[in-house]
Symmetry: C2
Subunit: 246 residues, 2 copies
DNA sequence: GTCTATAAGCGGATAGAC
DNA sequence: GTCTATCCGCTTATAGAC
């Protein structure tokens, strides 16, 4: 999702073919569900970026509407309240997040490669969808004013499952004993930070934005840190693979 | 700072001793600098908590004033604009942060204990002043809309110095080679997260808030992860010291 | 579905009396 | 320093025509 397909949809928006004269088969008269879905997604996508930058209260529905190219009243036709739009954004972020991480950290897998994959997937998410990550982060930082129930129902179980997997590996002697909850807290933080704090990172690195090479380096370091901490791997093949840009 | 001395200041606020009659020595007529400083601090303290919870746009100066027990117009006497108040909050957070971390990560120190101290100090900060940490985090996540210059001038050099120290340890062969920037990114994230994401953590742990024992466990795991990643330490003395509450 | 019009309230900020 | 009064713009949301 994210930035895709906005342009095409926008150009075709106002006024489809006129109805009265030339149409052979009468167009279906039920509410246009497809259009509804497209508009919902497009509005949510615009809202996601704006909420990420300015926070819930820092964005007006008029601004979202303007970015999509519709009127604010029209936006209110699709989302009855600003809060509904905000929740929809969080839902979308969460859906994709759960989808991407489904099945990773399977307790039957090899711990090292399972953890590697998990870290890679989370970093990919930070890279592909920083806005979503940021909206979620600010909601959590604010103390879950809108999304506490959903987080409890959908996120916490997923996180607990990962902790549980790690604990099973410990119990089976496949990794060294460690406080699994805190290890996972750190994994989440270390991967999330590449979305949330990338502005600060860019400033430290003296560049405009993080590059692909930065994300590769991040993946290597996070994986090394985590794996070594539970006695899984000494060091990656090459000591420090040549950075491409930076 | 934070929550201290609010009560006493509030009770004595309205109307000091009347001026006309009984006073022997005429009270100094210059602007009361001491009062100014106290009020500034008190307002900033209240604002810090509110900004942390609701974000810059989610807080009205009237709400801040109400929490302090003054009128909104009176608040505007001390801070001419809402933005000035917000910057003052960030300044305060940054001042204390730099103060606490000053001198840590000295390149002449033993790397292991220097890093341990650094991690402990950052975690203590997350624990003592979560609101400040959160305000800062949301400002960064939002892309530094107000505080870019200050971050560039005061924070980035401090962060770079820490990276530099780590690099010197690598060059001197005192620690194993590693991508120092990313290691530090992870250290910042792993310590910061115990302030910013503590709500989510509490939900995962099934408790109201993080306890002292949680912070001790965090310190142990973060230190272990970081030190091991550069070949500094095998494991802490006891395998898993008995948790006190949880 | 999309538009115009408008309700009803809160936001930050200023002016001036005391 | 603190108060009263007030300006004005922007906000979410609704009503109803087309």
């Amino acid at each position: 999702m994210a930035t895709a397909k906005r342009a095409e949809a926008s150009t075709q928006r106002r006024r489809r073919a006129p109805r009265g004269a030339t149409a052979g088969a009468p167009p279906p008269r039920r509410p246009d569900l497809r259009r509804r879905r497209v508009m919902d997604a497009e509005i949510a996508c615009a809202a996601e970026e704006l909420f990420a930058q300015h926070g819930f209260h820092g964005v007006s529905i008029a601004e979202v509407a303007a970015r999509v190219g519709i009127s604010k009243q029209n936006l209110l036709y699709y989302f009855p309240t600003k809060e509904a739009l905000y929740r929809r954004v969080l839902d979308g972020v969460l859906d994709e997040w759960l989808e991407r991480l489904r099945g990773l950290a399977d307790p039957d897998k090899d711990p090292a490669s399972a953890l590697r994959e998990y870290i890679a997937a989370k970093l990919r998410y930070s890279r592909d969808r920083p806005s979503g990550s940021r909206v979620f982060a600010t909601e959590i930082i604010a103390g879950l004013p809108f999304y506490a129930a959903e987080l409890r129902e959908r996120v916490v179980p997923a996180l607990r499952a990962q902790v549980e997997t790690l604990n099973r590996w410990v119990a089976a002697g496949r990794v060294e004993p460690i406080d699994a909850v805190h290890l996972m807290f750190i994994v989440w933080a270390a991967t999330q930070t590449y979305a949330d704090f990338s502005h600060q990172m860019a400033l430290v690195l003296g560049k405009e934005a993080l590059s692909a090479a930065d994300f590769e380096a991040a993946e290597e370091v996070v994986a090394r840190i985590v794996l070594r901490s539970i006695g899984l791997e000494a060091a990656p093949p090459g000591p420090t693979p040549a950075p491409r840009d930076r």
